[in-house]
């Protein structure tokens, strides 16, 4: 039976987090981090299944949640029983969520204002008519060549900004793209793909994160094996059907 999956679309990771906190009716100062992070990651995989492209910031937040979860698992006491005054690892995130929620609410207020205001019409100044009625001595007024140049500069900057936005949009890499890319590279390197080489030449932080998450995902699905021949040595990546001396290797998958 085919059923349609409907999932809401979020503005960004903060928006998704807020939604999950609302849905679970949890106290923002005591976020059940394990629950929220698993629901968060569940959303990401649902989005992936229906080919909803998410920006790398969603993945970055997944990393943050998992890192907080890991820190929460660390023992709060030293073996001698001495108390450690450590900050709640969730605090920084909580502050950010509160601040984001504030502006999201104001954006809602702005939306209402925009709607109300769109029903009001004012008169446009009839500049052409007024020019006829009160012709200025100098049609350029006090405009000098420097003003013209400044205006042209502003136009050129606008073009530049539009171009930047377009190129950023083009360079955005999805998790699925990266997974495909790695699978292709694995096929090209049956003798093992260097973990180190996989990351060299990546300049964007987002791409590094996506690459790392792609490896985790492939490993979770049991498609690859990671092998490290010596401690702190390079890690080699293989397809799962690879059969060579695994027993002796220090696997990290």
């Amino acid at each position: 039976m085919v059923y349609q999956v409907r999932i809401p679309v979020f503005e960004g990771p903060m928006d998704l987090l807020l939604h999950l906190l609302d849905k679970n009716e949890v106290d923002i100062y005591d976020i059940p981090i394990a629950l929220i992070s698993s629901q968060y990651i569940e959303y990401l995989s649902m989005a992936e299944e229906i080919d909803l492209e998410l920006t790398s910031e969603f993945l970055l937040m997944a990393c943050t949640l998992l890192s907080i979860k890991a820190r929460m698992l660390l023992p709060k006491r030293r073996p001698e029983g001495e108390e450690i005054l450590e900050d709640d690892p969730r605090m920084e995130l909580v502050q950010k969520i509160i601040e984001y929620k504030l502006y999201k609410d104001i954006a809602g207020d702005f939306r209402e204002r925009e709607l109300n205001q769109s029903k009001l019409f004012c008169r446009e100044i009839d500049e052409a008519g007024l020019l006829k009625q009160f012709p200025p001595a100098n049609p350029l007024g006090n405009v000098a060549i420097a003003d013209l140049l400044a205006a042209y500069g502003k136009v050129l900057r606008k073009i530049e900004r539009r171009r930047e936005v377009m190129s950023i949009a083009r360079e955005e890499i999805t998790l699925q793209d990266k997974i495909d890319e790695i699978i292709y590279a694995l096929a090209q390197n049956p003798g093992g793909l260097s973990f180190h080489k996989l990351f060299t030449g990546l300049t964007q932080r987002s791409e590094v994160i996506v690459t790392f998450l792609a490896l985790l995902e492939l490993s979770r699905r049991g498609l690859i094996l990671l092998r490290q021949n010596k401690l702190f040595g390079d890690i080699l990546i293989y397809f799962k059907d690879f059969k060579g001396g695994l027993e002796s290797a220090h696997t990290v998958s």
Binding site: R123, L131, N138, V143, L149, Y152, G153, E160
Partner: protein, 181 residues
């Protein structure tokens, strides 16, 4: 489906006259309100009388088969005081449009809009009305769009002998300008 009382129709007609930059005919108004044209004519007369009786800042002028609100001649000196400083300068939009035309002429409206990223009918009108630009024939392209160029008035008041005197923008200077400001 309008559910307004006749009294409110007068208010709507005032609103239409208020926002319209062009004269409105009784026929146009009757079409918008879905009201008999004769009723509109009566209401227009009432509006005209109201403006006079209350000595409002504007009156209803009937021209070329249409009605338009217009300010009174005796207020011209004050209106000039308000408007003069504004006419003495160009809006940012008009300035940008003029800058694009001066560096890209002859250029069509859609080419300018392509560069600015926004519509520019109104700023084209303004600088045309000021005599700073003029039409320069039509482009041999689909739709044969009008081309625009700057005028000799533009050069004169900019203090330029010819277009060659416009400050040169070199590729890298341009890039710097983009990076800096």
């Amino acid at each position: 489906m309008p559910t307004l009382f006749p009294k409110d129709f007068k208010s709507v007609i005032e609103a239409l006259l208020f926002v319209s930059g062009e004269p409105l005919s009784a026929q146009q108004i009757s079409g918008i309100l879905d009201v008999d044209e004769q009723d509109v004519v009566v209401l227009l007369k009432e509006i005209k009388a109201d403006c006079e009786r209350e000595n409002r800042g504007f009156f209803l002028l009937e021209i070329a088969g249409g009605f338009i609100f217009s300010t009174r001649a005796e207020h011209a000196e004050y209106i000039e005081k308000l408007i003069k400083p504004r006419l003495n300068t160009l809006s940012q939009a008009a300035l940008e449009t003029l800058a694009i035309i001066s560096y890209h002429q002859p250029v069509t409206r859609s080419e300018i809009e392509e560069i600015r990223g926004v519509k520019c009918d109104s700023s084209l009108n303004t600088i045309m009305e000021r005599g700073l630009i003029d039409e320069a024939g039509r482009k041999e392209a689909p739709g044969r769009p009008i081309l625009y160029k700057t005028t000799s008035e533009f050069l004169k008041y900019m203090g330029l002998k010819s277009l060659d005197d416009l400050p040169k923008i070199k590729k890298d200077e341009l890039q710097e300008a983009v990076n800096e400001s």
